[in-house]
């Protein structure tokens, strides 16, 4: 134990004095927390830009209905409306104004008002005539003769009127670019707006409405969801990238050989490094939670179970790093191998975004990654405050920690270096 503590002390001092080490294992995660927390947090509400060209003019001014339709669109929080002048040729405009974001252009055609109004009158007339016909069929026998006759005459008049009406659908046109992933979302919003607009035009009242609410009433924010994922991801990268590189570099430079000439045992060397990484992981978690609390007001704070899982994660990924660094002597190759393992795991395991957002087969891939069980368990403890739901994570991480630690001890050479 004395040897392990000496290694812990030496590695800790070496790390604290390494600018690159401190940056990549401590400041870089903090920086990402701040950037991602701001980008994905509540402060950065998602807005989709929609260009609108209104061609429905009356005496050079937008018609009443088209103006009203635009006002409804502008009131939708998810849309940022940019007006295009009626004289603009859309294709030329897109060509001459290249943009990194996709163009979505809504065109309100000429005669929008007129067509919508006539269609609305037609629909209303249909509703009235259908209602009168229904009344006659159902209650006609109970009506007085003159009343029934008047209703039948009215119905005949309405049918005649309908036959003479010119009915045209008022179609608006949404142009989107190929590969625009937000196009279906904007299309959905537009469909909903048009539907509401149609109902209002024919005088229909809402029968059912959607009310928004939160499943968990603890005042959680987006940062609360992301924080456990970030902690897990960076504890993993510190182990898999950082420890792999350092171990390989120590091996190549002869530091491990120097240590092996002393009475220090191989297991004490590994325990010393694991202890240092665990201390680093806990400090990182503390600083990230502190930053999240101060800047984003996170409420998903870690408890003793979260601390235990972080320790287990640090042991697991540090051991994996030691096993990789111990078997790859070239530090450049070791760093590349560390990156090759860590980056896919970081982005595909769902640490940064919910796995449900990914295609089904990728979700299956995510669930075979060790990081998935780490961040999933941390989220269940920190967000749901339900450690019993994290039991599978504890079990998987314990098994992995044992396997990787055994592998690290087996792979690390203390003789024939």
């Amino acid at each position: 134990m004395r040897g392990a503590l000496a290694v812990f002390k030496a590695c800790m001092k070496n790390w604290i004095r390494s600018r690159a080490g401190v940056f990549f294992s401590f400041l870089f995660p903090l920086l990402l927390l701040l950037v991602f927390g701001t980008v994905f947090g509540e402060r950065g509400e998602v807005k989709y830009t929609l260009y609108v060209q209104n061609l429905d003019l009356e005496n050079g001014q937008p018609s009443l209905l088209s103006r009203t339709f635009l006002q409804v669109l502008e009131s939708v929080r998810a849309l940022r409306i940019e007006n295009l002048a009626p004289t603009v040729d859309v294709e030329t405009y897109v060509r001459e104004h290249p943009s990194f974001t996709s163009y979505r252009i809504l065109i309100i055609p000429e005669n929008f008002h007129r067509k919508a109004e006539s269609k609305a009158i037609y629909v209303r007339t249909c509703v009235i005539s259908d209602t009168v016909r229904y009344l006659l069929q159902t209650y006609g026998s109970h009506m007085k003769e003159n009343e029934r006759e008047a209703a039948e005459n009215g119905l005949a008049l309405m049918e005649k009127w309908k036959e003479n009406m010119t009915i045209e659908n008022s179609e608006i046109l949404l142009l989107t670019e190929e590969g625009d992933t937000a196009a279906p979302v904007v299309g959905g919003i537009l469909a909903s707006v048009v539907n509401t607009f149609n109902n209002r035009l024919i005088g229909a009242e809402s029968v059912a409405e959607v009310q928004s609410g939160r499943l968990i009433h603890r005042g959680l924010k987006a940062a609360d969801y992301y924080l456990p994922g970030y902690i897990a991801a960076f504890v993993m990268t510190n182990g898999v990238i950082g420890v792999t590189s350092i171990t390989s570099d120590f091996g190549r430079r002869g530091v491990i050989k120097m240590l092996a000439t002393t009475p220090l045992k191989k297991s004490s060397w590994i325990v010393g490094v694991v202890l240092q990484q665990t201390a680093l992981a806990l400090s990182l978690a503390l600083v990230m939670v502190g930053t999240g609390w101060i800047i984003f007001g996170v409420r998903a704070l870690p408890d003793i179970w979260a601390v235990l899982l972080i320790v287990l994660g640090a042991v697991t990924f540090c051991s994996l790093g030691m096993a990789m660094g111990g078997s790859i002597r070239n530090p450049d190759a070791a760093a590349a191998a560390g990156n090759a393992v860590a980056f896919p795991m970081m982005f595909l395991s769902g640490a940064f975004w919910p796995v449900e957002m990914m295609p089904e087969f990728m979700q299956t891939v995510a669930k075979v990654m060790p990081l998935y069980y780490f961040h999933d368990g941390l989220r269940r403890i920190m967000i749901l405050k339900n450690p019993s739901q994290a039991i599978p994570s504890f079990l998987v991480m314990t098994v992995l920690a044992t396997v990787f630690l055994t592998l690290a001890i087996k792979v690390t050479k203390w003789r024939e270096l």
């Binding site: 001092k13 240590l259 009475p263």
Partner: protein
């Protein structure tokens, strides 16, 4: 009778089909500086690393301080100090912190200040290891090896890559250790280093020990004649009085003597009988021994040149 602290008997080490050590045997006694000299790839480092318990022998026996290198590695490591070849340690730790680390790893106690002063490291004690010159780094390595007050100090090519001044400074450090009675096992390819430091030398080439013995003894046995080179009038006549073996070489006369004593008598006579002579004495050394025993010499890069 001197106490044997290292005993090696029929030691063999193979790496696949390559034989690095082909059955060598030797002994090292307490308090002496034993040097294993040979070119690169001779088997020096393999031998010393078996004794340091860093490698396992394929066959044969090796005991350090009475302990077997396979079965009692931990006991041996507690009692020895090692400066490995191409020594390195934690770059961002200071000199003092690195030495304290070695002390803690050996389970030793006490301050390291005296050691820092003795090895001339006091001024740089707070500098990071990575900022030091090669010579200073080697000194730190020696300090780390000595901090546990070991019974045997293993130095594997300690002066390779050092400039001549740093090399000589390290020699002084090693000489001091000898005066304190520390047993030193030194590997090198520098013959002058062996002459300057070693009591006993083993010449190893291709994993085989070609000769072993006290340095003086080997020089007198295999070193050849003492050469006295003289330029000036009557040089040939005077030299002829003391040796029949006289040759001419680039305008000078060279007399060869079978012993230092005979050469000394001739030199005394030369100085007495004539002034204005330019005299140069070339004594045989380990280089000559190596040439005679192995049939080649080792160049500055450690390569064997036949």
């Amino acid at each position: 009778m001197k106490e044997k602290v290292i005993e090696v008997e029929g030691l063999v080490k193979r790496y696949g089909k390559v034989t690095a050590i082909a059955g060598i045997s030797f002994e090292v006694c307490r308090g002496e500086i034993f040097s294993l000299v040979g070119p690169n790839g001779a088997g020096k480092t393999t031998t010393v690393e078996i004794l340091e318990c860093l490698r396992l022998p394929t066959a044969g026996m090796a005991r350090v301080l009475g302990y077997d290198v396979i079965a009692d590695a931990q006991e041996i490591k507690k009692r020895i100090g090692v400066l490995p070849q191409d020594f390195s340690t934690f770059e961002l730790l200071t000199v003092k912190e690195n030495i304290e680390l070695a002390r803690d790893l050996h389970g030793s106690k006490g301050p390291v200040e005296n050691l820092l002063r003795e090895l001339g490291l006091w001024e740089v004690r707070n500098r990071k290891f990575g900022e030091l010159s090669s010579g200073m780094k080697q000194r730190v390595g020696v300090a780390m090896a000595l901090v546990s007050e070991p019974e045997i100090l293993f130095l594997d090519e300690p002066t390779t890559g050092l400039d001549p001044q740093a090399r000589r400074e390290l020699w002084e450090v090693i000489k001091k250790l000898k005066s304190k009675g520390v047993t030193v096992f030194l590997t090198t390819h520098y013959m002058e280093e062996v002459e300057a430091l070693a009591d006993v030398v083993g010449i190893i080439v291709g994993g085989r020990l070609f000769a072993i013995g006290e340095v003086r003894e080997l020089i007198s046995k295999y070193g050849g004649e003492v050469r006295v080179r003289v330029e000036g009038k009557r040089a040939r006549t005077i030299l002829r009085k003391f040796t029949k073996n006289v040759i001419e070489e680039n305008g000078a006369v060279v007399g060869m003597f079978s012993s230092r004593e005979k050469a000394a008598r001739a030199l005394a006579n030369l100085y007495r009988s004539s002034s204005g002579l330019r005299i140069e004495v070339m004594e045989p050394g380990m280089e000559d021994v190596f040439l005679r025993v192995v049939g080649g010499r080792v160049n500055e890069r450690g390569e064997l040149v036949r």
